[in-house]
């Protein structure tokens, strides 16, 4: 059930000067969180930040009553969230949104770009537990922007593309050789910048592979009250990304791919 819950900042793990993982701990039990869900995180002590920030859950630890989030500090809200002190109170509204669906598949490709890798730790773990062969394909501008590869390696093969060629294959994710070497996947999951997700969805469509994308639209509330975060569907409806998503079958979206 959705709820407002008080947490305290437990730890930061800085990946570089603008990417961090923070772990929040509560005195209460953690609600059930599944891969793809997000929380609306209060930005404490920030007079210039008005709204909460919707952030995908990176991982959950029910025993320690903690949730962790991977955050790229690109705006004033996400930068401010990186300046808390250990023990600072922080309020979450969670769990929000839907989840990835797995179904009857034997192999999966996960394509993540930028902070879009966050939901794939939990998804990768779930796929491994179900015995599904999983390949991770991470794309970024440069090797300094590729994170969590050790974590993903626990659940499957990890492939990388960088635009400058500093790590893995040079180019965009859609130019990676796994798309041309005869690799077969029953399903593709993607999260990241819109152009990347659309390019991935286009490949999936051409090859008749099921594809789910997790969208990152701007939100005010996160639970279906404000109707600000909509995405249009191929049949002309506007769906709330927060409640009908954030995960969508890419065929349903008006992406003209």
């Amino acid at each position: 059930m959705k709820k407002i819950q008080d947490f305290k900042l437990k730890t930061y793990q800085w990946l570089n000067d603008e990417n961090y993982i923070f772990t929040l701990q509560s005195e209460e039990d953690i609600e059930a969180v599944e891969a793809g869900m997000f929380a609306e995180i209060e930005v404490p002590n920030a007079s210039d930040v008005f709204l909460r920030r919707p952030i995908s859950v990176l991982d959950v630890d029910y025993d320690n009553k903690s949730l962790s989030f991977y955050i790229k500090a690109i705006g004033k809200g996400t930068r401010k969230l990186g300046t808390l002190q250990e023990g600072d109170p922080i309020s979450l509204i969670y769990p929000l949104g839907n989840t990835f669906t797995i179904g009857n598949i034997r192999s999966a490709l996960i394509v993540g770009g930028g902070s879009g890798i966050a939901p794939f730790v939990m998804l990768g773990r779930e796929l491994k537990e179900k015995g599904i062969k999983t390949t991770f394909l991470l794309g970024a501008r440069s090797k300094e922007d590729i994170f969590l590869t050790d974590e993903f390696a626990k659940y499957g093969e990890v492939c990388v593309t960088t635009e400058d060629g500093s790590l893995g294959e040079k180019g965009l994710v859609t130019q990676h050789s796994l798309f041309s070497d005869g690799s077969q996947f029953d399903k593709i999951y993607t999260c990241g910048p819109d152009p990347m997700m659309k390019a991935v969805a286009r490949i999936a469509k051409e090859r008749s592979i099921a594809c789910e994308a997790s969208l990152e639209n701007m939100m005010a509330c996160g639970f279906g009250a404000c109707l600000c975060c909509v995405t249009p569907t191929s049949d002309g409806r506007n769906l709330c990304v927060c409640t009908e998503g954030p995960v969508f079958n890419t065929q349903e979206l008006a992406w003209s791919i």
């Binding site: 008005f50 701007m218 005010a220 009250a225 404000c226 975060c229 909509v230 506007n238 409640t243």
Partner: protein, 304 residues
């Protein structure tokens, strides 16, 4: 025991706290967070005659102490509300107040006539102040003759309490308030959002797909409070105040300025339990300050 009951025209709310249209869905979105039965009323999401998909994304921009929205009255239409939504919320012990919208006077009348036939609905809020639709909406609320015309037409089609929601995007809001009072409104609610805009300097593009949108949140509170006070002095019908109320103290200020009841809007997005806190806070304030009834706060600002 503090008496929290408030009367607006012919209808009664168990307390002065309600939620503003467009910020509370149809109530269902908040069931996990709070007990809807505690609310004085729920002004549900704006309704139109036919289904509307609203404006394209992006529809929202965060601003200093507030936000702009350009949702554009996305809703499934009045028939869907009557058939599917209302049956799911009518059992709650709170006033469900439809917010009525239209592109033409005929639209407003058609929606109102359908609501007039509904059991359990005692009042409507006539929205002549939505800034985010191309036709109708705020166009009716920014000129006195058109505000009067649509109010008169809806008055003829509706037997029960008629609240008219006013736009702040006018030179003198008291003129419009007096006009709709003369046209048969039982109460006025104010303010709707202020027309504003936001630009992304990096891309040199507007942030909202519609360029302009409606500003809400604490950024507008002092202006809304001033307008409530002016309208309270100008008319003899109850005023329902709103505009950037974030807590009980804000709500009490609106009541002292002349609001018989208040609506909580944007604050619901950050704290979906805020309305309950405001109810409790008004009761506590009354106790601490010797008010036996919340209605005694209305217009009780001390000016001498």
């Amino acid at each position: 025991m503090v008496d929290l009951e408030i009367k607006i025209g012919g209808f009664t709310m168990k307390n002065p706290v309600s939620t503003a249209s467009g910020t509370f869905g149809f109530g269902e979105e908040f069931i996990d967070f709070m007990d809807l039965n505690r609310l004085g009323g729920i002004f549900v999401k704006g309704l139109t005659l036919k289904n509307r998909e609203g404006n394209p994304y992006p529809r929202m921009a965060e601003t200093p102490s507030g936000m702009l929205n350009a949702v554009g009255l996305q809703n499934k239409g009045i028939d869907y509300f009557i058939k599917h939504t209302y049956p799911k919320i009518k059992h709650f012990d709170t006033q469900i107040i439809p917010n009525v919208n239209g592109a033409t006077v005929e639209d407003y009348i058609a929606v109102t006539e359908k609501i007039n036939e509904m059991d359990g609905i005692e009042t409507i809020e006539l929205n002549i102040s939505c800034p985010n639709v191309k036709e109708g909406g705020m166009a009716f609320g920014v000129s006195c003759p058109s505000a009067v015309a649509v109010t008169e037409a809806v008055r003829k089609a509706y037997d029960k309490t008629l609240i008219v929601k006013l736009s702040p995007n006018v030179t003198d809001i008291t003129e419009i308030a007096k006009g709709v009072e003369g046209a048969g409104a039982d109460a006025v609610s104010l303010v709707n959002t202020f027309l504003g805009m936001a630009i992304d300097a990096k891309t040199r593009k507007p942030i909202l797909s519609t360029v302009t949108g409606g500003l809400s949140g604490p950024a507008i509170k002092p202006i809304a409070l001033r307008m409530v006070w002016q309208v309270y002095q100008a008319v003899n019908i109850p005023v329902i105040g709103m505009g950037g109320i974030m807590d009980a103290t804000d709500a009490i200020e609106f009541m002292l300025a002349g609001s018989s009841a208040i609506q909580i809007g944007t604050a619901n997005f950050m704290d979906p339990q805020v309305s309950i806190k405001v109810i409790d806070g008004i009761e506590a304030y009354c106790k601490e300050n010797g008010f036996s009834a919340a209605k005694d706060l209305v217009g009780a600002m001390i000016t001498d």
